[in-house]
């Protein structure tokens, strides 16, 4: 048994184990305490995530569990980004749910979901990948419906579940075909088949590859498969939406990176032109439809689709440069979205349950700091220079240009210009319009009266904003923090 344990190299999964352990502890604590006297389950969850984050620095890189998982610097960094984002989201969760609802469950579910991210970014076997995708998604379906009294929240949970189940079915179908084409489910057949001088893959292999990739594209909301994003993002509790914007994206992007030929390294033209088209459609359609939105969460949902389109450009770049640009982009993107959705969480319940953009009128006068924070996030999402969003887009577009794809880079730049309209309109509404008459001066979110609860979300917001600013001013320093 000891030899088996040594051979399995189980330490590579230590961060995931720590996270799962803490999730179970939270559930056990929840079993013996009432909701109203819940001893801040989020603090327990954040402690667990911090331990997992630290441990991920010390675990050895390498293959574990007989080739089922492999940890390298890319997967480790991607997982670290997800863990750090999860910690920030857990800081916001108390303001969202107050003292009377299922905070213990939410904390545990966020941890389980992050465990799924870890499985997906390290998976080397399709069964492992499928396990990860389910472990990531099932908690998200539940959390989308966490506001059980709100019909929109229930609708979001059901829609997300149905679309997710459909994507899982496609993936299983693809896995069956892949098994038929290759004889086993190890993911290295992708890399082997897309080598430059390899035997051209068979049609049956392509069928499996397309189906499995489609499941991943569903998860990250690329354009032909994006319809679920809007209702799910709108209906879910805002802090959970912040988690949804980055966690499945990180997982799906790095799972996709293992099964997709990067740039022209395969010598096949089909994957390149497919990714070209997907990326162009995703960024353009996302931005076009965001222009017409009156609801801030729907607008941010379309904006996250558009950003997914920019990030898909990383697959047009051969070598590691594209992957590194993608990691940086995802880190900044997670921070920007956490910041924006935190402000929405703190402001929205008092103003307008429907969250129209107009309801943010005069926020700069009533809540200056929150308005400034939201403005910084929106500037950064647009890609304006002093903030992280600019550097992220700069690195990515520079690498795309260096790989010779001029047209898609131009399309991305024009799309950024287009997106300035709908992001900056929100800033305009916040600063120039008078506060609505029916508006009260105070935040009547569930955090009212619980200063320590409000405090944690303010700290999370401050960290996110500082991260957005630092990544714009000193990208090297930021990259070192997230261990690029």
């Amino acid at each position: 048994m000891s030899s088996w344990l040594q051979a399995s190299n189980w330490l590579v999964m230590l961060p995931e184990m720590i996270i799962a352990f803490f999730a179970l502890i939270i559930l056990l604590v929840a079993a013996f305490t009432k909701d109203s006297e819940a001893p801040y389950p989020e603090s327990l969850a954040i402690t667990g995530l911090a331990l997992a984050f630290i441990s991920s620095y010390y675990i050895p890189e390498g293959v574990g569990y007989y080739g089922q998982v492999a940890v390298d610097s890319v997967s480790r960094t991607a997982f670290s980004i997800a863990i750090l984002g999860g910690m920030l989201v857990l800081g916001v969760v108390p303001s969202q749910f107050g003292t009377d609802t299922m905070r213990s469950e939410t904390s545990a579910l966020v941890l389980f979901s992050l465990c799924g991210v870890g499985f997906m970014v390290t998976a080397q076997h399709l069964i492992m990948l499928f396990l990860g995708i389910e472990l990531l998604s099932l908690p998200l379906y539940i959390m989308a419906g966490m506001r059980t009294r709100d019909p929109r929240s229930r609708e979001a949970a059901l829609k997300y579940f149905i679309v997710g189940a459909f994507a899982s079915a496609l993936m299983l179908f693809g896995m069956a075909i892949y098994l038929g084409a290759n004889g086993d489910l190890l993911m290295n057949h992708f890399a082997l088949s897309f080598q430059k001088n390899a035997v051209p893959p068979t049609l049956i292999f392509f069928a499996g590859w397309i189906l499995i990739s489609t499941a991943m594209l569903f998860k990250l909301g690329a354009v032909p498969f994006h319809m679920w994003v809007l209702d799910v993002y709108q209906g879910s509790p805002s802090s959970i939406t912040a988690f949804m914007t980055f966690a499945p994206k990180i997982a799906a992007f790095f799972a996709l990176a293992k099964m997709w030929p990067l740039g022209s390294e395969s010598g096949l033209s089909t994957p390149i032109s497919m990714m070209y088209l997907l990326s162009f459609l995703t960024m353009t359609a996302g931005n076009m439809m965001a222009l017409m939105q009156r609801n801030i969460k729907r607008m941010l949902a379309y904006s996250s689709i558009a950003h997914g389109g920019y990030m898909l450009m990383a697959f047009l770049i051969s070598g590691t440069e594209g992957i590194h640009a993608l990691l940086f982009y995802l880190a900044v993107y997670a921070l920007m979205n956490i910041g924006a959705f935190t402000v929405i969480t703190l402001v929205a319940p008092s103003r307008d349950p429907e969250l129209s953009i107009i309801s943010l009128s005069g926020l700069a006068k009533t809540h200056t700091y929150l308005a400034v924070a939201l403005a910084i996030c929106l500037f950064s999402l647009t890609g304006l220079p002093p903030f992280g969003g600019f550097m992220a887009k700069f690195f990515l577009i520079k690498a795309v240009l260096a790989s010779g794809n001029v047209y898609i880079a131009l399309a991305a730049i024009f799309n950024s210009l287009l997106s300035a309209y709908y992001y900056l309109r929100v800033v305009l509404v916040m600063t120039t319009r008078e506060p609505l008459a029916a508006d009260s001066d105070e935040l009547i979110s569930p955090s009212a009266g619980f200063t320590s609860i409000g405090l944690s979300s303010r700290i999370a917001l401050a960290v996110a904003i500082i991260g957005v600013v630092i990544s714009g001013i000193s990208p090297d320093f930021f990259a070192r923090i997230i261990s690029l």
Partner: protein, 121 residues
């Protein structure tokens, strides 16, 4: 010809289907037909059918049924482990894993009890 190997099976299917269809057709054609109120009732295992089947059911049943399924499926998940149990190298690993799996389920059970998932009122 590929299908020739399966000819007995196909023939069996054809005979079975033909037998069933022929009997239903013959009895419909030649059998006497005398309807009565009792005969026209839907068949429900002897129980007297009352009202619509689509009536609301207390949601507590769903919760209990769901939890029952959760702990029931666990047995199905244990069965594949038996396939590696003969392999000596994996024997103790499989044994430990099964206990770990049970421990996780116990955590779930404690959580359900603690949160009042099995209380009827």
């Amino acid at each position: 010809m590929f299908f020739i190997n399966y000819m007995p099976v196909i023939l069996m299917f054809a005979v079975a289907a033909g037998f069933a269809v022929a009997n239903v057709l013959l009895s419909a054609l030649f059998g006497p037909y005398r309807a009565s109120a009792a005969k026209m009732e839907p068949y429900e295992c002897g129980a007297h059918p009352v009202g619509d089947a689509r009536k609301p059911v207390v949601t507590r049943f769903y919760r209990v049924a769901m939890l029952f399924l959760l702990f029931d499926v666990e047995v199905a998940l244990m069965l594949p482990v038996l396939t590696v149990y003969r392999d000596y190298a994996f024997k103790w690993v499989a044994f430990t894993e099964l206990f770990l799996f049970m421990a996780l389920l116990v955590v779930g059970y404690v959580y359900i009890r603690g949160r009042g998932g099995l209380e009827w009122d």
